[in-house]
Symmetry: C2
Subunit: 447 residues, 2 copies
């Protein structure tokens, strides 16, 4: 025997045990159903890409976090750190074959060598959907509708979709003659919530050379509050004379009207001119989604419009719009809100393996129930019944079927409701239809 | 603009475009459903593990194929090359918390730096299920039933599950006094189909020091053919006097009887003493599954019993039994057999965006159909109708809804069956219930 190796996961990584994994599978299935209901198709891309595909896309901080190495053919490769860069590469490579509009979803793991002290994991799942190849406002509207339907389908009622349009700020900077400095202004503005008004103003003066009047105008825009229509009215004069700014305001108005027409309650959508999301990437609509009961966890579904997706890989114009559901963040929120049903077994019915030489009877019974669409676990060993029922209890089965020597001789079986403890004796003749009926009655009683 | 980067995937890796990915998702869903119906729960483990966890488990060849590197904390890490080694590590780490029997499935990507000239990919999905913590024959039987149900649920009728038990050969070697040389005998025997009887005999004589009589006995065993019961009868004298061999034969007999009792047609299960599967790993039952129409592609679902799963990581005994569905091989087979339905859109209904300023009407219609469980894609731009219908045709929608200025003014909509080309005009009043009925009639007509 060689020396023992300590069984452990890498720092920053984790195993998913059945409970956590079942919740994740359920959430993914829900997302997939919503994406598909809008005509988004699944794709997948390799976990490993040429390093040159990945670097320089997400900024210096992201570059540092990429898991990178030379493979056995001395190629520099990296593990993907998001699903957007692979989408850009994928679109540049395949769009001629696929045609536009191209609507895809992609649910897969990504890896980042993050600082684990912040409670972050180095491997996590992303769950993205995007529409590529159209600049139409209808695609922006649909993105908002998908986000709304996703949250509803997962089971949330109280959430707020915050929307903005990058063109609005661009328009103001245009009017103020600060268009060339937009990056510096955005970097400073992004810190508003963290460092406050005064320090942001200092930074804008320093890095963008903004005058106090200019700083004032920018902050006045970012701090606009109130009803959606009220904000829209206030925005109009602020971007007057800038075509981009006017288009931004018009698109926001259009988006608000359309999502309401499609049935989204108006209190769930809020115009928020302060959200910016990243610095260089987005060029139009921006979306963030907050749970009203847990605003502190941040946005659980974010995205927006970008018009230069694949420009590093192709000279074809590939505008797009989409968003990403934060699976892990959502799961944590659902746990905190008590929304994760405690289910520990994917099968609902437990069959005790009672009499050692009657295995065939138990196998037949299990097969009949499965053929009727009911999940059944047969205990693998003819152990003491008490031990088996303890296992059944711990695993969270809803029904136990128990047939000892006497029952089998009489052609019957006990059907036990594990929640109430009630038990009834049912005949096994006639293709187990009486057992099936009794099981279904118990399962239906607690739905 | 920085210089352009060529959009390409790494050698040995591939993208999944929507058609391929939809087929893969469907297959995975089917497998998941079958696993769950037997009470298997999902788990997941990290793609990256400490290198010491991975090496030395799958033999020298596998070790060479592991993607390995030092992470930014100078830890040596590797990408998992299968799901069995992570299961062993996982079980050693968590089994005290989870208890036994522990039944899990795991569907995830693995990576191997294989020689791509053999048409192999360096990233592929595995789809495993295992029962840990019991030596009971009932768990072996269940493994065979799961494999059978899997193939049936995927849509196969003509396939053969080949079973063997490692104890049978061990028993013979025991009787022949070759028990100590079993590894050398197995290595030679494994080549029988490839290099033929004579060369295998030479090798056994050379590496295991087997006499011609011993070689003869071993080959006679491996070449046993005929009906299952006939083989069982012939095996008995060959293992006489060896407790292990007799147990192997008894377990095979028990397995055959039980799967038949559970409803598996007997022609789908065949005792095949020649299958060995790997060298050191399996200790009992062995399973392989072949498609009758495509035997050349090899086994599509293989596995068996192993009794020393986690011995490298823990001194707790963790016997197990399970199998792995070969997703990629199965998908290739299904394509060859014409079993992959040509579906190019996950949504079935297409709504043309006909009149530019009537977007709200189209959005409302789409929302109503989705609320009724029907997938709907709305074209994102008010382009020429011909162009939109060409897109709808290419994507494989089944129904198109077309409402121009005249229809909308009259409160109606055209419902077009895209297969037959037939079109009918339906009223939009009353919550779109007439449209819903017309759409459902078309969808039902082609199921």
């Amino acid at each position: 025997m060689s020396k023992r190796i300590e069984p452990r996961t890498l720092k920053g990584f984790r195993d998913y045990l059945p409970d956590a994994m079942m919740a994740r599978e359920r959430l993914i299935n829900t997302a997939r159903g919503v994406y598909r209901s809008y005509g988004f198709s699944p794709i997948d891309t390799p976990a490993l890409e040429y390093l040159e595909i990945l670097t320089g896309k997400g900024g210096e901080e992201t570059d540092k976090q990429i898991y990178r190495f030379q493979d056995s053919g001395d190629r520099w490769v990296g593990l993907r750190f998001d699903l957007t860069v692979p989408l850009a590469r994928f679109a540049a490579q395949h769009i001629a074959e696929l045609g536009t509009p191209f609507k895809r979803y992609h649910i897969a793991s990504v890896w980042r060598g993050e600082n684990t002290q912040r409670g972050r994991y180095r491997e996590f799942m992303q769950c993205d959907f995007d529409t590529i190849g159209t600049r139409s406002p209808a695609a922006d509207i649909e993105t908002a509708l998908v986000i709304h339907d996703l949250l509803r389908a997962i089971g949330f009622e109280r959430f707020t979709l915050r929307i903005n349009n990058r063109l609005v700020l661009n328009g103001l900077l245009d009017r103020l003659g600060l268009a060339e400095k937009s990056k510096a202004v955005l970097i400073a503005l992004d810190k508003l919530a963290k460092i406050g008004r005064e320090k942001v103003a200092d930074e804008m003066a320093r890095t963008a050379g903004a005058t106090p009047e200019q700083v004032n105008e920018v902050l006045r825009l970012a701090e606009l509050a109130g009803e959606n229509q009220e904000i829209l009215r206030k925005l109009e004069p602020m971007v007057a004379g800038s075509a981009a700014g006017q288009e931004g305001v018009a698109r926001l108005a259009e988006l608000l009207a359309a999502v309401e027409a499609a049935g989204v309650p108006c209190e769930r959508v809020r115009l928020d001119v302060s959200i910016a999301r990243g610095l260089d990437y987005y060029t139009g609509a921006i979306f963030e989604t907050f749970l009203d009961e847990l605003p502190g966890i941040g946005s659980v579904c974010s995205g927006g419009r970008y018009d230069r997706l694949a420009s590093l890989y192709t000279n074809q114009e590939l505008p797009g719009v989409g968003a990403s559901l934060g699976l892990d963040r959502l799961l944590a929120a659902m746990e905190e809100l008590g929304m994760l049903a405690k289910v520990t077994t994917p099968a609902e019915v437990f069959i005790a393996y009672f009499v050692a030489d009657r295995l065939h009877d138990y196998l037949r019974l299990a097969a009949h129930l499965r053929a009727a669409g009911i999940g059944v676990e047969l205990y693998p060993e003819p152990k003491r019944l008490g031990q088996q029922l303890k296992y059944a209890d711990r695993r969270g089965f809803r029904v136990a079927l128990i047939a000892g020597e006497d029952e089998l001789a009489a052609g019957t079986c006990q059907v036990k409701d594990l929640a109430s403890g009630n038990s009834q004796t049912v005949g096994l003749a006639g293709g187990d239809s009486a057992v099936l009926a009794a099981v279904n009655a118990i399962l239906a009683s607690r739905l």
